[in-house]
Amino acid sequence: MRRILTVASLILAMLPASAQDKLDAAINDFSEVFKMDSPTSGTDKVHKSVTVFNEDGLLSASFVAFTDAFRSVGSFSGEVVLANGKKVKLSKKDLSFSSMSLGIADDSYAVYLTPVFNYPFTVTYDYTIEYRDGIVIFPIFQPLLQDNVSLKSASYTLMVPPGTEISEHSVHLDYSFEFDSKRDIHKWTIKDMAPLVDEHLMKLDSDFLPMLYAVPVEFSYGGTKGRQSDWKELGTWLNSIQDKADDLPESEIAKVKELTAGAGSEFETVSRLYSYLKEKTRYVSIQLGIGGYRTLPASHVVKTGFGDCKALSNYMKSMLKVAGIESNYYVIHTDREDFFGNLPSPGQMNHAMLAVPLKENGDTLFVECTNPSFPLGYRHSSCARHEILLLDGEGGQKVRIGGYPDSLSRKTREARIALREDGSAHIDIKDKRMLDYSEALVNFSSRKPEDQVKFLIRDWMLQPENVKIDRISDNFDRYPEYGRDFVPEAEVDFSMESRNYANKNGDRLFFPVNPLAKSFYYQRSERVNRIYRKEAFTLVDDYSVVIPEGYKVESLPADASFESVWGSFKSSVKVDEIDGTILHINQTLVVPCFDEPASEYPSYREFSKKINKLYSAKIVVSKR
């Protein structure tokens, strides 16, 4: 017992008491050794010690292993040491498992254990994960998973047969290499890493947290063999495992020919088949065995009417081929714009789509087969500006999808408010959205009415009732008019009542300038990270308020206009010159992309406060 007490005391003593008060957890030691026995097998041996200070740190102290047809948990043991020195042993029987399935079939499971003891406590795990039937990616090393957790030391050792070529992408890790007659030994280490501070307007966590992503250049996986020294080779392997996937049955070939007969252009052919895809199919995920990379054949989609992103893209590609249009299957990560450095590997993508080059106008359509309601010709926000691995006859190539000018990301609200003497109002609104803002209105008509209304009025200060949608319109099918300059736009006209648009106070009515606006968030605490915004946008609110007969304007907020690196804002409220019963309100906010040092945050805070004040300013009208 004395020895245990000593260990516990040492662990807690590593951090000063003040730091322990603020940290959620501390990773004391994390060492991972992957020993590759053959191209198809290996063992991952992990030792991990974590001290948890509160429940927010539990994620770092949890054991989670993902298993599937290629991986399983081998040995497992652990020990929890409490602050008073008591210890609790953990064994494999303490592990639980849960299906990872989001679709109808998936052989992935999470095997997990979350220790629950009074804080603080220290948990130590020793476990192995056995790899079989192929290694296309070595175990990904992520010793730190969350913010507000410190890391004392971590290492990852990759032991491979002599001469095994690897490639890797690492973040915040030091590298060393040694070898003996039996192994090449690659080692990555990190020591004393300060905790990540989670703040708004910052880059993805993956840009900050230490990580290693390594792959064997030559690999065997699920009975296939391939190389990934460059994108071309990786594409060659991905092409090879999709072999014979374009097996449309004769009846479907005839259907495709029937559907596309007489089409006046390549685009029209694609459009007809895209409509057919929408009508006939839907997304259902099936991920079994190598199915994470290999598509189900087109005949499967014909038979069932469903498939995942790979299967639906392959099906569309197969139909296009029958119609005489070549297309390219590609894989992409929908959150990260860039692949990891220049590391060709298949595991860093999470989605498949289809690129269709149009000879007739030189444009390329990036087709979202998983949701064929997206406008054809639009590069949606999860693919525009992203790197992709495009498969072609030569193998594969890394290319980047083009983006759109910032100014096109725009939302406009035009409202006409008829204010009554009791403070209630009738409101008509035209909600116009462009580019990525229009995505929320894709398939909008199909949503439940209550969901439509909730979406339209979310974040409003005003709480209206009897919301009625009068018209939903869009230009989603008008690519042929604009070609490569096509920008999706959608519009919803709706009306509503408000019992308390204005507050009646004696002879006066008080109402806000912009009750539909959402407050601009800013943090109180001192900024630690750079201030980064990836998406630019423009919000325009244009209202006219008809005040009750017999009332006059008593008070209006002053017009304002300001501009900085954070954006520009203009606000004006004018009284109709003819009879003074109509107020015209215009507030326009333009926010650009930015990447500024943390020291500039006070300026951002002031910018946000000024906008909030102008959004919430009051108008007062009183009886003449």
Binding site: N118, V284, T304, G305, F306, N443, Q463, N503, N505, R508
Partner: protein, 660 residues
């Protein structure tokens, strides 16, 4: 609550068979008509993305050929897809118990999609290769499948059967779904050896018939066959609307149309008789017989270790606080709620669920002259305790009733760190909870809804400067349930900074010098205090000031024009908000908001707001809101909605000052 349940039962009894489906269909599997395929909207709900044209749910409790008791369920559903979003009905996942002892399985899955193409009906059947069976977790297995060739316009038929050796666990059979239902039928067939309690729930209604048929089962040649009558209860419902989510509702399924079966007894004449909890007293006896109550007076290493630490504490409340502190320090709550403690295991493993913690604390108290008894609760989020559902599994949680040596009585949930003595999580504030005395006498009911007087008191003292700046001091004192709520809100924030950010956002003001006394203590009271700084709207000679920096009600609460569920508030409210402001001598009051009082008798609720000048340079406002009752029938929805709107308008008040 009792009167609402009663009215539901009466409604069922008085139902006639006048109901008729709005879409006439033949609901025999495979009999999909051209009209069904060609319909493009559901007339009773034109917004529906899909409609359940037919649903039958057949449950049979009987003997199989080996004379083993089995429960089989056969499900048939026919969907019509009307919009893209309705295609989701094609994806089905079914869970069943993985434990082989219960011999559960799902079989006979048949899925067919019907489409109309070129004037002809085309059928697509699901291949058995696309039915996936796998493990879901330690406790469950899963069967998943997805109907083939589904489009807008498709009709989908889904059929499957389920069997289990847990023959008595019929449970709740829901008729109503998230899609509107055109025609539904539930049939429950059982050998007359079984008697069931039956309870219909929901705001819609069934029609009902009963049949009886004589049966015999020959298990082995030459052996006397087993003879019995099969009873069948059939429930029909037509034109049932889709379920919708609503605010102030702990258990939405209370309003979902369904029928609940609970086994009352098994009587095989001359061979077997078992009575299943026909009275609460019988349930009590079973609990006592099973040693349940003893688990709350277990002497163990922890109880003996705690005694020296509390020795010398004479104040009863302080002693209870000390015992609770020692218990949760020694055994960490694992976040799970249960009803059955295993004190020894929890003490050994130093972690346990809510029942374990109650068991440990009761064991300590029962050894030092206090009386701590388990109180069984059916959580509000699990529905209302049905008067007929007389069984141990009617409950899902346990708390403690503690009687001190001086005779004071407290109720407490040991695990909940934000609660206290007579302050319980809102899920446990129920009308009927059953005390099982530690003396092993028979149990009795207690009402947990109004154990303590809750209060929320906020004082805001402000000063207006001549430049329009308003600086003020805010103090919020909360007691009992309101204190629990305040502490919960604080602990939900990631840290104090985030909590203050939320305050600033909701107050529209800058907050400084924040303190929260009592947020980490197991106590009935907490006090938040802070300074706020904001600005008044100044226009020409006028200054406009909003006296409310916090709203206690929101129109968002009751936005929908209609409502199906009863309105179930967490606990009674007692709110006092006061605001005072002093302003420079060169200003005078031009207009004060109107003082007023409004009331809503059906909740015994009222709100009073009074404005008054303080000398020549100040204004004071007091706002008092009380609500005694916590439950309101859905029929009163429009009235409460108007009351809410009236309340919300109070918060928009503005004080107008004028420069001299």
């Amino acid at each position: 609550m009792g009167k609402f349940l009663f009215s539901v039962l009466l409604l069922v009894a008085g139902t006639t068979s006048l109901m008729s489906q709005s879409i006439k269909i033949n609901y025999k599997p495979g009999s999909v008509s051209k009209e069904e395929l060609e319909m493009d909207s559901y007339p009773l709900d034109t917004t529906a993305s899909a409609v359940l044209l037919a649903k039958t749910y057949e449950v049979k409790v009987s003997f199989d050929q080996r004379l083993s008791l089995k429960r089989t369920e056969t499900v048939y559903k026919r969907y019509k897809v009307l919009k893209d979003a309705g295609k989701d009905c094609a994806d089905q996942s079914l869970l069943y118990l993985a434990d082989n002892r219960f011999d559960e399985s799902i079989y006979g899955i048949k899925v067919t999609t019907y489409n109309r193409e070129n004037g002809k009906t085309v059928t697509s059947k699901l291949s058995s290769k696309l039915i996936f069976k796998d493990s879901f977790s330690d406790k469950f297995k899963k069967v998943s499948f997805s109907a083939p060739d589904v489009r807008v316009g498709s009709v989908i038929e889904v059929q499957y059967s389920f069997t289990s050796s847990l023959f008595a666990n019929v449970g709740v059979l829901f008729m109503q779904e998230d899609y509107p239902l055109n025609h539904g039928k539930i049939s429950v067939e059982y050998a007359d050896y079984f008697s069931f309690n039956k309870f219909v729930r929901g705001h819609e209604s069934f029609s009902r018939t009963e049949n009886t048929e004589n049966m015999e089962v020959i298990a082995f040649p030459g052996v006397e066959p087993l003879r019995f009558a099969m009873k069948e209860d059939i429930f029909y419902a037509d034109d049932v609307p889709a379920m919708k989510k609503e605010s102030y509702c702990f258990y939405p399924d209370q309003a979902r149309l369904g029928v609940e079966y609970e086994l009352r007894n098994v009587n095989i004449p001359g061979q077997y008789y078992q009575n299943y909890n026909t009275s609460w007293e019988e349930v009590d006896k079973q609990f006592i017989k099973d040693g349940y109550v003893k688990e709350f007076k277990v002497k163990n290493v922890l109880t003996t270790r705690i005694y020296p630490k509390i020795e010398g504490i004479t104040d009863e409340v302080k002693l209870l606080e000390a015992v609770r502190k020692e218990v949760v320090s020694a055994v960490k709550w694992n976040g799970n709620v249960s009803m059955y403690p295993d004190v020894s295991k929890a003490v050994k493993e130093m972690t346990g669920d809510s029942a374990d913690l109650c068991g440990i604390m009761a064991s300590v108290l029962n050894g030092i002259g206090y009386t701590a008894s388990p109180v069984l609760v059916k959580s509000r989020s699990r529905g209302v305790l049905a008067s007929f559902h007389v069984a141990a599994d009617a409950f899902d949680a346990v708390i403690l009733q503690i009687t001190t040596p001086s005779g004071k009585v407290f109720y407490t949930d040991v695990a909940s760190r934000n609660a206290y003595l007579n302050v319980l999580p809102e899920d446990y504030l129920v009308e009927k909870a059953r005390v099982l005395p530690i003396s092993e006498a028979l149990g009795y009911w207690v009402d947990l809804r109004k154990l303590s007087n809750n209060s929320y008191t906020q004082n805001y003292v402000a000063r207006l400067s001549s430049d329009g700046r308003i600086e003020g001091d805010v103090r919020i004192t909360t007691m009992n349930e309101d204190s629990r709520g305040a502490k919960q809100a604080f602990s939900n924030a990631k840290n104090e900074e985030e909590f203050i950010e939320q305050l600033e956002l909701s107050y529209g003001a800058e907050v400084s010098d924040f303190s929260f006394v009592g947020n980490k203590e197991w106590s009935p009271k907490s006090v938040e205090s802070f300074k706020v700084e904001t600005t008044a709207d100044v226009a020409g000679e006028y200054v406009y000031i909003k006296p409310f920096i916090k709203q206690f009600h929101s129109e968002r609460d009751f936005q929908d024009p209609v409502r199906r569920n009863n309105i179930d508030f967490s606990y009674p409210d007692n709110i006092r908000y006061s605001f005072s402001i002093t302003f420079p001598e060169d200003m005078v009051v031009d207009q004060l908001p109107q003082s007023q009082a409004i009331a809503f008798d059906k909740l015994r609720s009222k709100a009073i707001v009074k404005y008054a000048p303080i000398g020549d340079n100040g204004v004071m406002m007091t706002f008092i809101y009380t609500r005694v009752d916590t439950l309101l029938p859905a029929a009163e929805y429009e009235a409460v909605r108007q009351y809410w709107a009236d309340l919300c308008s109070i918060y928009n008040a503005t004080i107008v000052l004028k420069k001299k």
